[in-house]
Symmetry: C2
Subunit: 241 residues, 2 copies
């Protein structure tokens, strides 16, 4: 069974307008999605969110409110972020259509998916964007590429729903992948170790940190690899002390 309803969650970061939360809920429900997570919404619960959700008030009632993005995604293995901004470092990027196909593949494999949407005015910070394995691009006009947040959710949810029957299975993995929290810990472990090994200059530290995060989120290590890398880092740290 293709269970996008239970395995895909939409994460909204610091949404300002409660009406947008309502519109997002409606957009989700029209495409069979159910799980809405709100990271520090400015005004929630609110009547406006209820009104604009139409018949998706159940999604608003069941929405989970958390304080940090890390908390929102910690049990997910596949993290997508949406962004219209250009960034100092490029990140693996995928179109909405390809994301729709890929997300269905993850759902069939039984792993959890988060799709993160940023603030109405400022989108996501670089740090937030770097928590994602991939960024989703919605093709749009150069003149005015700025979709409203609920519109972005609608288009991506539509691509997921539309492609629910398309099987593109390329299963080669022996072990499940690390979830977001496990991966964050591994990255921190690696960065911490690199610091101790004096691998960062004042000048390049920030850029290299970003590249490290990108490398690991792109790699998506499985549990076996994760164990090996953790052991590897632990060994090094014992040597340093």
């Amino acid at each position: 069974m293709n269970d996008i309803k239970n395995q895909v969650q939409i994460v909204l970061v610091e949404t300002s307008h409660p009406g947008n939360i309502g519109s997002v809920a409606r957009a989700m429900k029209t495409m069979g999605l159910q799980n809405l997570v709100l990271v520090k919404p400015r005004n929630f619960p609110s009547k406006e969110a209820f009104v604009l959700s139409g018949n998706a008030q159940d999604l608003i009632e069941q929405a989970v409110v958390v304080n940090t993005l890390g908390e929102a995604i910690k049990n997910c293995t596949n993290i997508y972020a949406t962004s219209a901004r250009t960034r100092s470092i490029s990140w693996p990027i995928i179109t909405a259509e390809m994301a729709g196909i890929e997300i269905n593949k993850f759902v069939r494999e039984g792993t959890k998916v988060s799709i993160i949407f940023g603030r109405e005015d400022r989108g996501l910070t670089n740090e937030e964007l770097q928590k994602a394995n991939k960024h989703i691009l919605i093709p749009s006009s150069e003149d005015y590429p700025v979709l409203n947040i609920a519109m972005s959710v609608q288009v991506i949810a539509y691509e997921i729903f539309k492609n629910a029957d398309i099987e593109v299975d390329i299963n080669w993995q022996d072990y499940p992948e690390l979830n977001s929290e496990e991966l964050s810990m591994l990255i921190d472990h690696f960065i911490d170790t690199s610091y101790k090994l004096n691998l960062f200059d004042e000048d390049n530290a920030k850029k290299i940190l970003v590249r490290i995060k990108r490398m690991f989120t792109r790699l998506k290590p499985d549990k076996m690899e994760g164990n090996f890398l953790r052991g590897f880092l632990t060994r090094i740290n014992k040597k340093i002390k």
Copy 2:
């Protein structure tokens, strides 16, 4: 050049909420569309439409307001309508994705396209739906298939924009097709003639009328065929008198 900006128009029939008109304009502009036609909007111009259009205020300023759907589409050759309702008689139907590809084909051929969206609460009447050559279906959840009007515009405009580069050209026609007004006149001519020939029972008249409209809109006769059919009907009428 693929000129969707000039050759595709979005037609909103009796929209109640001006905010929706604004959101539609924004959705259109993000996907490179420009021509908005409003059939008897309840409240327009309005400040709310401007506010919700974001940076698409130019589309609101240039929006054309008309009194009838016929007037809105009269110069178009390819008419699509959107509807979530089930109807007494089925009509040629196409998914949003296939419509996106097909509309780009029409644009490349230089013919004009209208996409009609109905009232927020009641959609389009059967008569309005029957002016379309095809109906567009946006795949959606059985539990709650009701997309907001601006969301429907966003998804369909996205499919048009996304598929602008996909060429599926199957050109076999020698002559351009009749536009909507010419086709309506031909259909009326045919129906009028059929009446005179006593082809309608009290019982079946309404259903047959619908089937005739469907047949002609599906056929999309070209100018040559149109001329022939008009001549044919004129001949018959002379015989009847």
